[in-house]
């Protein structure tokens, strides 16, 4: 277990360094002078105006923008190691606070979406596999291919149109109660549940043609017991990785979905920060996403060693 943790932490540091460096240098290569853009957002609140030179100079001085990029980045890393992620250019408050304040919204959305996708995807995949080539199978499979083919933003728009606008069942936007969570979670969870259902089905079919399933039937187990006791655990092994990956995709999806539903989470923060070039916040969001990745991977690894006794003893 210790080895897994160390490996994960190593991975985490690598991801953080790679992605923040990438973002840092890319954002600084944006057209237009960073200081000018920042001055617009900080002092003018309107991109279409031009800030004065004094304002730009003040920004440059305040945020050390005259220094070489590399040393700026090193400074950022140094501060981040000491728990100081910097302050947001836009709001002047600490990045950590900016992110923590929006964390519950995103976590709620992501958690409910993944839960939804698991609770729909897993049974749907199992049923489709168990009743292979039946109507149920075709139905589930078709729905899940549809699910991965539908653009989530389009789905979101259609859902709002149908459920909020036409039927008036759910609010069109906002954050707070359960009702407002439904549509964003469904738009975000649909592709994920489709992916999980498909993988679950093929994994189940794969498992069901293994020799040990024949052994189990040969022992006299009922079909249901074969599935529950012998097949399910094996089926989950390949699905676990996908669930981890899907969570990452889901976080990416929040960017669009949060904007459409005016959901006050990290995704929306990231989008506004990218346009405002609020680099400390962008970096913070990326560190946050990486931490989430770390946690998810850790959970994945633990589930692996729980499900598959072969892992942990031997490599791969």
């Amino acid at each position: 277990m210790l080895e897994i943790i160390l490996k994960r932490i190593g991975m985490f540091i690598l991801v953080v360094i790679a992605s923040t460096a990438l973002v840092f240098f890319m954002l600084h290569s944006l057209p237009g002078e960073s200081a000018e853009v920042m001055a617009k957002y900080i002092f003018l609140g309107n991109v279409e105006l031009t800030p004065s030179n004094e304002a730009i100079d003040i920004i440059k001085e305040k945020y050390d923008l005259e220094k070489p990029l590399f040393s700026q980045y090193v400074t950022w890393v140094w501060n981040a190691i000491h728990g100081n992620m910097g302050t947001s250019y836009q709001t002047n408050s600490p990045v950590t606070e900016e992110i923590l304040i929006r964390l519950p919204a995103t976590i709620t959305l992501a958690f409910v979406s993944i839960l939804l996708s698991l609770l729909i995807g897993i049974p749907a995949g199992i049923i489709a596999a168990v009743k292979q080539n039946s109507f149920t199978d075709y139905f589930c499979s078709t729905i899940s291919v549809l699910g991965i083919s539908i653009p989530s933003f389009w789905l979101a728009i259609l859902l709002i149109y149908v459920f909020s606008y036409t039927l008036g069942l759910t609010p069109t936007m906002g954050y707070g109660d359960f009702k407002s969570l439904i549509l964003p979670a469904v738009s975000l969870g649909t592709p994920a549940s489709a992916v999980i259902a498909r993988l679950m089905r093929s994994s189940m079919l794969e498992v069901m043609r293994q020799d040990y399933i024949r052994t189990a039937i040969g022992k006299g187990l009922s079909y249901r017991m074969v599935i529950l006791r012998h097949a399910l655990k094996n089926t989950f092994i390949p699905v676990i990785t996908i669930i981890g990956l899907e969570f990452g995709h889901l976080l990416g999806g929040t960017v669009i979905i949060e904007t459409i539903f005016a959901w006050p989470g990290i995704g929306r923060l990231l989008i506004t920060s990218i346009t405002a070039r609020d680099i400390p916040v962008i970096q913070g969001c990326i560190v946050f996403i990486t931490i989430t990745y770390l946690v998810i991977n850790f959970i994945t690894d633990i589930s692996y060693s729980y499900l598959d006794p072969r892992i942990g003893r031997s490599k791969h």
């Binding site: 052994t215 006299g220 006794p309």
Partner: protein, 313 residues
């Protein structure tokens, strides 16, 4: 006493290349307290025959005929009745124990399952029985090893576990499908020894499927030879070894390295496109005109021996 009697069994399945007639009009008896060897080259339909008995074939396989076991026709039994027979009355020992054991369950649990199912034991009791079963299969320190997973076992140990799982409920009939395949010679002889001990001691019958005549010679009382989906010869093992009847059996024995390694010309026909007449005639040096057109029956040769060849007609 006949324990299991197979009459006119046919197992066909459809693939994208055509209909595979894996088992064609096979009739076979297994007597109580005997080991019957079923030998033949790979792809001749031996495994399908065994799977047909326990109805373990996939749904797209057509199985026809009659398999009576203790008065029941297994092919007409309902699913529940079948479950009572599987593992309790008729057990299987498969080849390739690594893939035949569930990788995520402990050996002990997998061996306990038949006890829980057919003896109605609780897990703790079943576990104890499983451990003693493993001990009987000569697995060292079975109490500890029972908690291990298949990948922690060596090939020979896995096969021992498979055997103890198969024999758990003292079945009347064991279907052993190539139990020594893929094992080293020294381990092979250990396993053969073990099976002889366990099976004979329990007075169970066994259908031993193998492509290795030596293994059959070692374990069997009688032998049935399959060629291209058909039984071509059934005989006592001693008679068979000393004086095989069917030209194919003669060729088979002669092609053994120590018997001169004299090859049978040609290849086994595919099960999709079987030759007219006697299926062996294209490779047979005794082939007559009749063999090309007519399909031979099983002819009694004497001493309980039957051969599917016009030479004995």
């Amino acid at each position: 006493m006949t324990l299991l009697s197979i009459r006119n069994l046919k197992s066909y399945f459809v693939t994208r290349d055509g209909v595979v007639k894996a088992v064609n009009q096979v009739s076979l008896d297994i007597f109580e307290n005997e080991t019957l060897g079923l030998v033949g080259e790979s792809g001749c339909g031996k495994t399908v025959l065994a799977l047909s008995i326990l109805r373990l074939l996939s749904e797209n396989t057509v199985v026809e005929g009659k398999i009576s076991f203790k008065g029941n026709d297994l092919l007409r039994l309902n699913e529940e009745g079948m479950r009572d027979i599987r593992g309790k009355e008729i057990a299987q020992i498969f080849q390739n124990p690594l893939s035949s054991l569930n990788p995520v369950l402990t050996i002990g649990l997998q061996v306990s399952e038949p006890f829980m199912l057919h003896r109605g034991m609780k897990l703790s009791d079943a576990w104890q029985s499983a451990i003693s079963m493993l001990r009987a299969a000569k697995i060292p320190s079975p109490a500890e090893r029972g908690k291990e997973y298949p990948h922690q076992f060596s090939g020979g140990m896995r096969q021992r576990a498979m055997i103890s799982m198969g024999l758990a409920c003292n079945p009347a009939l064991i279907l052993a499908d190539e139990p020594t395949k893929g094992l080293d010679v020294t381990i092979q002889s250990q396993i053969i020894e073990l099976m002889r001990e366990l099976v004979k001691d329990r007075k169970a019958s066994m259908l031993l499927i193998t492509h290795d005549l030596a293994v059959a010679a070692e374990l069997c009382d009688r032998i049935a030879v399959m060629y291209s989906g058909e039984i071509v010869e059934v005989s006592e093992i001693k008679d068979f070894l000393s004086n095989p009847g069917h030209p194919y059996c003669r060729g088979l024995l002669r092609s053994l390295p120590l018997n001169g390694m004299e090859p049978i010309p040609g290849n086994s026909p595919s099960l999709i496109d079987v030759p007219e007449g006697c299926r062996f005639h294209p490779r047979c040096k005794y082939a007559m005109e009749r063999c090309r057109n007519e399909h031979p029956e099983m002819y009694e040769v004497g001493n309980g021996r039957k051969t599917r060849c016009f030479l004995y007609a």
